[in-house]
Amino acid sequence: MILFEALYVAPPALTAQAPILVIAGPLIGACAAALSPGGRTAWMVSMLTAAFALWMAVAVAGEVAREDVIDYALGGFAPPMGIALRIDALGATMALLVASIGVMGALYSGHALESEVKAEKHTLFQSGYLLCLAGFLGLVFTGDAFNAFVFLEVSSIGTYALVAVGEARDRRALPAAFNYLIFGTVGATLYVLGVGFLYAATGTLNMVDMAMRLATLGDNSAVQAGLAFVVAGLGVKAAMFPLHGWLPGAYAGAPSLVSVFLAATATKAAIYLIIRFVFDVFPEGEFGEIFLSWILAPLAAAAVIICSVQAVFEKEVRRILAFSSVAQVGFILLGVSLATPAGLSAGVFYLVAHALMKGALFMAVGAFAISVRARTVEDFSGIAREAPWSAAAFGVGAASLGGVPLTMGFLAKWSLVSAALETGEIWIVAVLAIGSLLTLIYVGRMLEAMFFRAPGRGAERAREAPVGVLAPLFVLAGLSLWFGVDATLPVSMVNASVSALVGAAP
């Protein structure tokens, strides 16, 4: 975060209110987009609002770099009575990530929507998109356990609708969205139950206050049940194995912009909240350790192996990427389950890396989808000759996913392996190695088809995507490369996040 220390991007009066403006901006934008007369206007609103949210997020990051933690009492009601926003380095990092993806997605939506969403739905689509953005930004900023539920549901309701919009291209999106709604709502209800248990035990909903009271209260069965419900509920939203059933269908059926946005932010925000609860709210002790090493770690390892194998045998490109997402969530949670500063920082770094690379991959698939209706790996054969720039960006994202040196994915895998070696958990190293090999297999299959085969039936009609689509795609792919060579910025942010969480830098 040191890089942000000298950053004053907004006037002081605005910076003081920046935490709430990050959330309120997209919420107001969502209303404006819904009321706008046409798709173009809605797109302009979406762009402006996302850019405003990013601007405010940078202002917050600068403030966090100077003051470590921002406490913002909503409406001037002081916590623990009032609802508070509490932003530390981890929250600021997540907000920067979400807001940046939000801006890239809004830029991308200018052209990408036309081929995938009916024209009369554009205004409402942008409205739902901004609603999701507001929900995720609120989720990473809030310091109140129940408020987090509300933001979780604000974003989720937007997401269900956005996934269902994919019916115009592929009607399987509808049952997928319904399935996602059922899973997601059960997850959110479990989370509410868990918060109820914690409220019954502590009498507070403010996370800091709750952590202080839990520390003196110690473990009891209500608190343990509370944590179990909270993590199970958030696990559904984070697509933690074996609660990931909704994800492949939803990512495969949704419009590509929604897949980009979900893959890069939705599961990440839920993982953020799991980390927040396990390391910040819940007291250190035997129960937490047992939970991390006997429940979280084996499930994450199972996700890495099983879902990578599923991705290897999958035919449709979007479904390969979706199963790969579940496997990558496994990688992230493996790092988190080590519970050492090094493991935690590897997990958070992997989270950022995965958001950038999966965003780029889904964007590239969407860029192809503008000119051809290609689904399976076969359909993509030889597409690199017809659309070289999109294919190049896909290649960079795929290389990062596979962990090729000089990409961010390589650094992420490297730090994960070294963190696992440090703790002496050899089986985790073995799981990481097998998972990486499987990743190389499915990544290799896609790249081989795209770059080294003669164009198939579909690919011959492929055209290069317009600049408005290529620009955000190149930014995301470029960042995966740039941070693979010079990772100063993400590493400093991740280190600050980890020391804010556990009080020790890796």
Partner: protein, 149 residues
């Protein structure tokens, strides 16, 4: 047995929740699934309301101390209990869980309406709301993948 009597509202929460979950996963009819989901969500409302109940407490609307109403409410209660837990001679229930669950109910209604409208769209696209039949059609769609549109 004693616990079952004193905590019967919590038992009701568990039973309701399990019925909701069972409906959710046993039926293939999307509308019935939404009913199960609604039951599941409503059981948490009962859970929160139970948490907020203070025995002998009344709704948290301010009652003036020493008014006839306050005296009438305090009359059946043990005076030391009122002294300890009351505010101005009246024992109130905890209003916070009520407020929370009001929010959760609103969220639940929103989710239900989104779910039902997706079910309507599914009916339009597939001609059925039975999960089994939808899956059969979706499998054909998957087999179609790659063929020219």
């Amino acid at each position: 047995m004693n616990v079952a009597v004193t905590h019967f509202n919590y038992l009701a929460v568990v039973v309701l929740m399990m019925i909701g979950l069972y409906v959710l996963f046993s039926t293939g009819n999307l509308i019935k699934r939404m009913i199960g989901l609604a039951l599941f969500q409503t059981s948490t409302a009962l859970f929160y309301i139970s948490l907020g109940k203070v025995s002998g407490g009344t709704a948290a609307i301010k009652i003036y101390p020493d008014s006839p109403e306050a005296r009438a409410l305090a009359a059946p209660l043990d005076p030391t209990y009122v002294q300890q837990f009351g505010v101005g001679g009246v024992v109130y229930s905890n209003p916070l869980p009520h407020v929370l669950i009001l929010t959760a109910i609103v969220v639940g209604v929103a989710t239900l309406s989104v779910g039902l409208s997706i079910a309507v769209r599914i009916r339009e696209a597939y001609g059925t709301v039975e999960a089994g039949e939808i899956e059969a059609v979706a499998r054909l769609d998957t087999a179609d993948a790659g063929r020219d549109p």
